[in-house]
Symmetry: none
Subunit: 211 residues, 4 copies
DNA sequence: GATGAATGAGGATTCATTCAT
DNA sequence: TATGAATGAATCCTCATTCAT
């Protein structure tokens, strides 16, 4: 609605602008990520992204061949960022459950803090059909990281570890749908509660009468 | 925005008479639901919906004042359908956990069977901002149903029942993102596994060392 | 924007409704006149007119074959109304200038009071090309009435009576463009001032140096 | 609504450079002016305007953010053109009435010659409600020019100069409704006759018996 | 590397009109 | 007389993309 003049953006950016192409790419990725997260893929126009980066829409095509390609790049960057956050968080932790919890917290924080990654859970619109496989590959990689964390957990024998991984990530990711930063709950609180619930399902736990 | 559509007019004018229009409305709702589920709100054009119903695009507007209004109607119908399925499934079951599981199964089946309700988890695109409140109201109602089922569960004392509800629904709904009907897993299997994991978190369960 | 439900109108009208066809025609003419005056020909939809009369749009076509025909009927009725007002106002007045002034006042009042006749001065949109001749014929008749009033005026010899008539009516009609009922000026004041100015242009008036 | 168009951008960015776009803007303005004059605002489609300029309809939006904005631009250009014509015509004339007449002639010629300015008198359709204030501001400016010409006239004491201005412009502008270039009357003739009539209303003129 | 200008298909929506009932 | 349902063309506008400069 209240769009921003290119000129306005330009005047503001001119400082650090004129950076190399790699720099520009990063700028575009940042702004596109922010906009995709807030407005979705279809709700964000190339012109908007261009304007936010201090460019005109045509110039985007020097850096990315299409809107889809740009989205994939954003998505991969986001997943990678979450992955790195998680790996950083678990470094040096030995206890499997502690490690698992630390990972969940890092994942949740990366997801809910900053505008960038809410795309994670997207049921990609059909416009993205052509690049779906790339997106899924990126997501899978992240999920395998969780598989590695789940493997050493002393889960009750009747628990399927794949379904368990889907369960955790589903519970964590869904926070995007309801979490409000204004709440007195931190993203870490949310993650901790999810893990707290799951932690009951350890081997030897008493669930006698479960059918 | 506040226009008048057939529903308004007819409900008032003629009680139940003239099945014709109501029939059409239902047809449109069905087709729109299918298409929205498959392609998302923005990915589905009014022309497509019209064509699927055997109409021309203009004719849709006799029944629904706007694409948004149509979406709200579809969404409400879908939530209602899931709600009814759940209520039907728990009828006559006394044991709280049995009841909870039955509800989860019904919820999951309604979600994953048929194309109609995958919209449930939508992070609504900003185009729908104007009607967001209606959508959220519908969703809330469904979630309160789960609150009623969670209340009597003998959960461990350190579990927050609101976060628990968000956890369950998050885990269940996320199946939409990965579930494939072709799999050897039934929707019920998925739901059952989620509940199986959660069931460990009952009162008196041994989780001694959890910090 | 804020449209009115058919039902609402209906409930209200039901009292005097069910009148004969002639009655209905008159109702339609009234409402259409009001709407055309306020919103113009193109800015008024048949549905709007129908709703204002307590009908559905299709029903209008029983009374008028097309939107254009309806407009012509409204226009003619309006012109006739102004004409009758003028004729009523000059009845019994002998002095030519008194008579002329009375006519101007009546014309102006009919024009500025009530919503109905602001159409008078319309530069008809090309949509109305087919019926233009009918509209112009109606207008001409009204203008000939003014010709009859101008004929006996003792105007200065160098004044062309046809151009004079166009001048008066132009000055009077243009009030529609700026007149606001809220002003302390009455429509009669406006008309009186126009005539006051023109009255100077009588025979024998001293305008020596006019080239 | 508050979007950015080329004008804004360019005025700022590059002073007078790059005649291309400015050229196009002028072309569009010309064609749009012609079409609006002939067919009215609602009767003219953006496609038509585009086609007349040798563009596709989408391309128009690079230069003007909306049909309304385009109309405002046309309107302002037209008013400005008439204003300039009038100012040119009165240059160097000392006698107030001569000056007034010269202005009237120029105004009338600008109005009736060329297709461009017949919009002047428009009772703007409600579609233009949002921009009405801009249109009125433009018109007011032109009318103030006439106020300056009327001020020094030696009008009879009982004449209100504001109503007098409205009277003149009403009489002049209304010519649009009936004037046909084919007639043996020139636009100047029309203007001259209007002024001739008004010139009688000078101070000291004999209007003794007026009530 | 970036721009300005244009493309052209596609979007939702409106509307006068028709016609069987 | 009136209705309900549908028509289909037309409307304004958006947008990813292209390409000469």
């Amino acid at each position: 609605m209240a769009r921003t003049t290119v000129r306005a953006r330009r005047d503001a950016d001119r400082a650090g602008a004129d950076a190399g192409a790699a720099e520009r790419r990063k700028q575009i990725l940042t702004e596109a990520g922010r906009l995709f997260a807030k407005q979705g893929f279809e709700g964000t126009s190339m012109r908007e992204i261009a304007a936010a980066t201090g460019l005109l829409s045509g110039s985007l095509y020097y850096h990315f061949a299409s809107k889809e390609e740009l989205f994939v790049a954003v998505y991969e960057a986001n997943i990678r960022a979450v992955g790195e956050a998680v790996e950083g968080a678990i470094e040096g932790i030995d206890d499997p459950w502690e490690c698992f919890e630390a990972a969940a917290i890092a994942h949740c924080e990366a997801l809910l803090t900053g505008e960038k990654t809410s795309i994670l859970d997207a049921k990609f619109p059909p416009v993205l059909a052509q690049v779906r496989s790339q997106l899924i590959r990126a997501r899978d990689e992240h999920e395998r990281l969780f598989d590695r964390l789940i493997a050493p957990l002393d889960l009750a024998a009747d628990i399927d570890r794949v379904l368990f991984r889907l369960h955790v990530l589903g519970a964590l990711n869904s926070a995007i749908l309801w979490y409000k930063p204004s709440s007195r709950l931190t993203p870490a609180d949310v993650a901790r509660h999810v893990i707290k619930v799951l932690r009951y399902a350890r081997q030897g736990a008493a669930t006698a009468e479960v059918r």
